[in-house]
């Protein structure tokens, strides 16, 4: 009993030596198939920062693939996050803790919480506070890179994000002048960013799709070259 307990660390070490150095799946956190065209690596590359603008739903949808695959995700600084929508999009709530910052925490407390979570979970969804110092963003980006997690920001600006996804134009269907109800929304997502993401892209999606989740809509425009940043 005692001996076997002592052997556990040794076993874990040999397991680390025996397995492949870096699997492809370990460099990229998977996303829903529908969202793959938006991302240069076909998923959320570990160590990168993804800035989502204009839609909380899209940010939640980005987490859905990872969460369904068994990864842990966490949200920081979203007192108004619609968890029901997250669940409908495919985020597993048992692995999706919310950090509600007290009013006194400030930008430093926010950065501390994000850095702490980046150590443990695969994807951190965070809303940057209004006045975030450049030093905080640089330090957090370095931390995320070092810890091989992914930071998804939404509802605030993040200069220097690796991938930038903006929702332009949303059109709800199913609702009319006093009849029906909201059923599905067609959005167009414009991708941009740095490095491989700089070539950009434009994808039309049903977000949410009629039965829940995300579905591809007919592509209206071929990938366009985004303005160089």
């Amino acid at each position: 009993m005692g001996e076997s307990r002592e052997q556990v660390p040794a076993l874990a070490r040999s397991a680390g030596l025996a397995r492949p150095v870096a699997l492809a799946s370990e460099r990229v956190v998977p996303v829903l198939d529908t969202l793959r065209p938006l991302l240069p690596d076909g998923g959320l590359r570990r160590g990168s920062v993804v800035a989502v603008e204009g839609s909380t739903s899209l940010a939640l949808a980005l987490l859905a693939g990872a969460s369904a695959g068994g990864s842990w995700c966490a949200a920081v600084g979203f007192p108004s996050l619609g968890l029901l929508a997250a669940a409908e999009l495919g985020v597993v709530l048992e692995r999706f803790p919310q950090v509600l910052l007290p009013a006194t925490a400030g930008a430093a407390g926010w950065a501390w919480a994000v850095a702490a979570l980046a150590d443990a979970v695969d994807v951190v969804l965070a809303r940057p506070p209004a006045h975030l110092a450049g030093s905080h963003t640089r330090r957090l980006a370095a931390r995320v890179r070092e810890r091989s997690s992914v930071l998804v920001t939404s509802g605030g600006s993040w200069p220097g994000a690796d991938v930038r996804l903006s929702v332009v134009g949303g059109c709800w269907e199913g609702v009319g002048e006093g009849h029906g109800r909201l059923r599905t929304r067609r959005v167009e997502v414009v991708a941009g960013g740095r490095g491989a993401a700089a070539r950009g892209g434009r994808v039309a999606l049903w977000l949410p799709a009629p039965g829940g989740g995300v579905a591809p809509a007919d592509v209206v425009a071929a990938p366009v070259v985004a303005a160089a940043r």
Binding site: A15, L81, L84, A86, G170, V175, E177, G178, R181
Partner: protein
């Protein structure tokens, strides 16, 4: 907050009685003195008549009474001799707390009612115990301290009169009355002397001082004395046989201010505690981490462990101590204590062979616990399915790591119907508190809901939170709700609408009592 009514049993000169029982010496008849480190601790009535007093030097006592039989003090002997007396009291009530050998206390609430009142209970217990320890007395008052003082006079203090009973007693009773050995130590004797020099001579005068001033001037012993003088107890009587007391603690002398040093001590404690639990086949579900500062300030926080091991406990202790010492502004610590609050049988834990999910879960749990240590348990929450109609009601936010909540509806169960539920898809942004809004028709007039649940006119423009007016291009609803009509204070009548503006913003808006509230945003 008053202390619970307590009965105290007091056996005078217990060390002398115990010496007579156990040592086979002269018994209680002749002059006997029990001496501890050359000083008389207790003496028999015959010795007292000959001029022997507590606190005398041994040689001085022998000079006054040449026939004096001197017995060395042995606390173990006192305790052993007291056991039959406690057993006699235990025949009346199972919750007996031994204050010290010679004095025990029981809460009287239940037994008094059963045996026909405080006086009857006091007489019965005195009779039963007196058969074993002649001369013992009982007294009843609020709180153990007052009860012991009442027992000296064999009194039953009427309910609510404890403070009045204590007020005329001199402050020296603090020292020589109940607490001569054990908990308080030498600081208390110094305190009584100091109080006398400052002109505070009775317990009533001490009780009249403001508590904060007493704490500031006399630190921890002063606060304790002040509590006792006011008729509050230092601690409630506890059961005599608690579940195995496995709490571990360490005293830090000199007091330690650096978190690392305290954490080092806590690590040892964690190993000790988990070892003691494991020896009984237990694992801690919840552990109380308690500290006491040099200034008598105490902090305690409960940590849920869910059976995790010594390393996890040591980590939590370190984070908690760091949080207190660096952010909490707590002074130098004199004591660290880990007490298992809830235990469960240890069923062991299985880790994935390749260091799988289990380890990730542990790491996440550790980080979340750290965040909770900094900002409180409410800082990390998770959503649990719950019943309700609105987007905020269908999921309940519960603190992370709390006891598992049985979901009212979940994937495993059939979701109960909630007629009038806001239909899916759910909004991605739900305002924690509804935001005031305004809605008008095309002419700028009010929009309402008729008695039959139909809109009076079509909404045409909307402004949320005093923002600019936006044109409504599509809308759905109203869905009238009449909730909790059976409970007048909680009764709500609302009508929900979905409004899509020209700019693409889509709101979930409720009309209640003639006012509009934006509840959520489909973004």
């Amino acid at each position: 907050m008053g202390a619970p009514r307590t009965l105290a049993l007091w056996c005078p000169d217990w060390p002398v009685v115990a010496a007579g029982n156990g040592g086979g010496q002269a018994g209680a008849v002749g002059p006997v003195a029990v001496v501890d480190r050359g000083v008389v601790l207790a003496c028999s009535a015959a010795a007292r008549a000959a001029g022997v007093e507590r606190g005398q030097r041994r040689r001085q006592a022998q000079a006054r009474c040449p026939h004096l039989v001197v017995v060395d003090h042995d606390p173990g002997r006192d305790a052993r001799a007291f056991e039959p007396v406690v057993a006699a009291v235990e025949a009346f009530t199972p919750t007996v707390e031994i204050v010290r050998p010679g004095v025990c206390a029981v809460p009287t609430r239940g037994p008094s009612r059963y045996f026909g009142g405080d006086e009857a209970l006091a007489a019965k217990i005195a009779g039963a115990a007196g058969a074993i320890a002649p001369g013992c007395r009982t007294g009843i008052a609020e709180g153990r301290f007052a009860a012991v003082l009442a027992a000296r006079g064999g009194l039953v203090v009427p309910p609510g009169q404890t403070a009045a009973f204590l007020a005329p007693l001199p402050t020296t009773t603090l020292e020589e009355g109940t607490l001569e050995e054990g908990t308080l130590g030498e600081g208390f004797a110094d305190l009584v002397g100091l109080l006398g020099r400052l002109g505070v001579r009775t317990l009533g005068e001490l009780a009249a001082l403001p508590p904060r001033a007493v704490l500031a001037r006399f630190a921890s012993p002063g606060t304790l004395a002040h509590r006792l003088a006011r008729g509050l107890d230092d601690r409630p009587p506890a059961a005599r046989r608690p579940p195995p007391d496995l709490a571990v603690e360490t005293l830090l002398d000199p007091p330690v201010e650096r978190a690392e040093a305290v954490a080092f001590a806590a690590r040892g404690l964690a190993d000790e505690l988990t070892g003691a639990l494991a020896a009984r086949g237990l694992a801690a579900d919840r552990v109380a981490i308690e500290v006491e500062t040099e200034w008598g300030e105490r902090r305690c926080r409960l940590w849920r462990l869910e059976g995790a091991g010594a390393a996890a406990l040591a980590q939590r202790a370190r984070w908690q101590l760091e949080a207190w010492l660096t952010d909490g502004g707590l002074g130098p610590l004199t004591r660290v204590r880990l007490a298992p609050d809830e235990v469960r049988p240890d069923r062991g834990r299985q880790q994935g062979f390749w260091g799988g999910d289990r380890m990730v879960d542990d790491r996440v749990a550790a980080v979340l616990a750290r965040i909770q240590g900094r900002w409180g348990v409410e800082a990390v929450v998770s959503g649990v399915p719950a019943g309700g109609r609105g987007p905020a009601e269908q999921l309940r936010l519960v603190p992370w790591g709390g006891p598992p909540v049985s979901p009212e509806s979940g994937p495993g169960r059939e979701r109960p119907p909630w007629p009038g539920r806001v239909p899916p898809p759910a909004p991605a942004t739900v305002h924690p508190h509804p935001v005031p809004a305004e809605v008008t028709d095309a002419a700028g007039g009010p929009v309402g809901v008729s008695g039959r649940g139909l809109p009076t006119t079509a909404p045409a423009r909307v402004s949320v939170s005093g923002g600019p007016w936006a044109e409504v291009v599509a809308w759905a609803g109203p869905w009238p709700l009449d909730e909790r009509w059976w409970d007048p204070p909680a009764h709500r009548r609302r009508a929900r609408w979905q409004l899509v503006t020209a700019a693409g913003d889509t709101h979930l808006i409720a009309l209640e009592g003639g006012r509009w509230w934006a509840e959520a945003l489909y973004d």
